[in-house]
Amino acid sequence: MYDKFAALRLIDNWLAEDVGFCDLTAQLMIDPASKATFYMNAREPMTVAGVDVAAAVFTRYEPSIKVEVRVADGQVVDKGAVLLVVSGPAQALLTAERTALNIVQRLSGIATETAKYVSAISHTKAKLLDTRKTTPGLEMLEKHAAACGGSLNGRLGLDGGVMLKDNHISVCGSIANAVRIAKAKAPTLTKIEVECDRLEQVSEALDAGADVIMLDNMSIPDMKAAVATVAGRAKLEASGGIRLDTIKAIAETGVDYISTSRPLQSAPAVDIGLDDKL
């Protein structure tokens, strides 16, 4: 989920950054009249994200380029799958190639890594949530990639919710007071989340009317106790130090959400190439 108009603004910046004055190699070596067709190939199995953005990189740079997108974002593909086919002026295709590949490799890397976490908790009711620990300038697209991997999005940005941490609470005197102030001032559809690192805070946050209660770095027994205490009256979000080898046990405590930055921050780029043959 992202806005195409906003994505075009990003693409303009990326191309301007890479092209500089001109693509010296393409302009020196390639006849302006020469045409070509290239296939974007998955060189390993992956969950695809950003293929439409990659397509838009080509057409934004040269509107006469024809792009046939062969897979949808979120689709799981095998090694060798063709993600898209581009045809048109060879100069333009070669100039835009690297930028298109860079973004689809990065976004598909995030989607592929995210899918591993989602799969590890799919037997429970817990849903994976992403975070704002995104690459500056790519928050919108990285959150789209996380969603392609099966995650839900947390706040899209700072205007997407109120997150009360211990600093806010200490300034306001109590959780109850902090939530009261937030509810009074925030837009009516905005959710209020309270970050708790101790069990007694969970009850306070529940009584205060928090929509979501974050269980920050809590032990498994404490998370189970929080689930029993809250009994569905607010959403519970486990957070902090989530790893692929710990997430299953956390999901089985009965929490609603598990938020992690790990697939965003440590996903390796997947291998995708642009070839002149299938």
């Binding site: 990003l10 910046n13 950054e17 890479d18 092209v19 500089g20 001109c22 693509d23 010296l24 190699t25 100039t95 690297r98 930028t99 590949l101 860079n102 973004i103 490799q105 990065r106 975070t131 704002r132 620990k133 995104t134 690459t135 500056p136 300038g137 790519l138 928050e139 947390g154 706040r155 940005g157 700072l158 205007d159 997407g160 919710g161 109120v162 997150m163 009360l164 941490k165 211990d166 600093n167 806010h168 200490s170 300034v171 306001c172 902090a178 102030i181 937030a182 001032k185 925030a186 837009p187 970050e195 974050m214 770095n217 957070s239 902090g240 992690t260 790990r262 921050q265 390796p268 780029a269």
Partner: protein, 196 residues
């Protein structure tokens, strides 16, 4: 090596993207005159880069913030090292905190990974060279991060003189944890940064 004027254009885009209409939490919960003193800490040993950019984010958003950078780009630091400190309007610091951390974490991640490759070929005459497989929009900063780790830059972009051909798959992803110990005037216990 990057241009400060160009970096300010990027910072504007990053902040605009994250802030959207406004930082709801900071604006509803923090008084405009609330002051705070914040330190950015290395939570593991690392070779740092991007601290100057992080500092610039704070100043760009609120020029009244006082930012002191306490490391140099390319410095090797121990866990617990204070990388910069920032004093001033707590609202401004909290609104920009995540963006500043995100870029410093990502760049320092690349610098650390690069340094491992550089160390592996030390003693030979071969030099490590980066590529154009950079995150779109972060070309200059990621290439700067490579040089902080001891790598050399290949082409900066399509219009620049090409050097030797090298095939370095640069997939460094920062798993580094930098965070603030936030101690606003009225806060009495340690802050832990949330995950959002």
């Amino acid at each position: 090596m990057y241009d400060h004027f160009v970096i300010d254009r990027l910072i504007d885009l990053w902040l605009t993207e994250d802030i959207g209409a406004c930082d709801l939490t900071a604006q509803t919960m923090i008084e405009p005159d609330e002051l705070g003193s914040f330190c950015m800490n290395a939570r593991e040993a690392m070779i740092v880069s991007g601290i100057e950019v992080a500092a610039r984010i704070f100043k760009r958003y609120d020029p009244s913030l006082e930012v002191r950078v306490r490391t140099k780009e390319g410095d090797r630091v121990e866990k617990g090292t204070i990388l910069l400190d920032v004093n001033g309007a707590a609202r401004s610091v909290l609104t920009t905190e995540r963006t500043a951390l995100n870029i410093a974490q990502r760049m320092s991640g690349i610098t650390n990974e690069t340094a491992r490759y550089v160390a592996a070929i030390a003693g030979t005459k071969a030099r490590l060279i980066d590529t154009r497989k950079t995150t779109p929009g972060l070309r200059m900063l990621e290439k700067h991060a490579v040089t902080c780790g001891g790598g050399l830059n290949h082409r900066i972009g399509l219009d620049k003189k090409s050097g030797q051909i090298a095939d370095l798959t640069c997939s460094a992803n920062c798993a580094f944890r930098l965070s603030y110990s936030i101690a606003p005037k009225r806060a009495s216990y340690p802050h832990r940064t949330g995950d959002w």
